[in-house]
Symmetry: C2
Subunit: 114 residues, 2 copies
């Protein structure tokens, strides 16, 4: 896990080389986290955490975002008072070509059947 | 979870419609289970559990095979005294096109970097 010393509001992210397939798959193996990732993929831009209407408590939501960030699926940064999140598409595509799109397509297919 | 009543040696498998993306991703999010799935994909046929040289105890190995089976990633059956395992390629491909191949390619890519 790469960390920075730039201040308490800097959030820890793994460098690209530290992103592990097992961690990415684990991060994506939860319905709430899949929902977050699908929303970020659909938005094609950074979203504030408050933009997600998740049916869970704030602390649970924060936990899910942290799992996604620490696994390397998303990056997060403070912009003023907002915590913004975005998919690490380039890093994931470089490491695991086609994986994120296959998972997103699978999630869409499953949502279409539910 | 679909179960059968055909005897104690019948193993429970989910029907295709009961296979969930989250469960599949969770099953694949463990290094040992990824290893099993890669071996099965390379073999392109059923393998006996004893064919896998996993660096874990028998009970841990059995646990991993059960997680893979109960999530719908593999099917298992007794043939005489051997418990044989095979990938549920057709079911996974029908439900989540391209997903298994993307995960296998990602696992190959990661193994090549390690």
């Amino acid at each position: 896990m790469a960390t920075t010393a730039a201040g308490s509001r800097e959030l820890a992210h793994p460098e690209r080389v530290g992103i592990r397939l097992e961690g990415v798959l684990h991060a994506l193996s939860d319905p709430m986290r899949l929902l977050i990732v699908r929303d970020l993929a659909a938005a094609e831009c950074e979203l504030a955490c408050s933009a997600f209407a998740l049916p869970v408590s704030k602390s649970t939501s924060t936990h899910h975002f942290r799992v996604l960030r620490e696994s390397g699926v998303i990056e997060q940064a403070y912009r003023g008072t907002a915590k913004m999140s975005g998919l690490r598409r380039d890093d994931l595509e470089e490491l695991f070509p086609g994986l994120l799109d296959a998972v997103l397509a699978a999630a869409d297919a499953q949502a279409g059947r539910d």
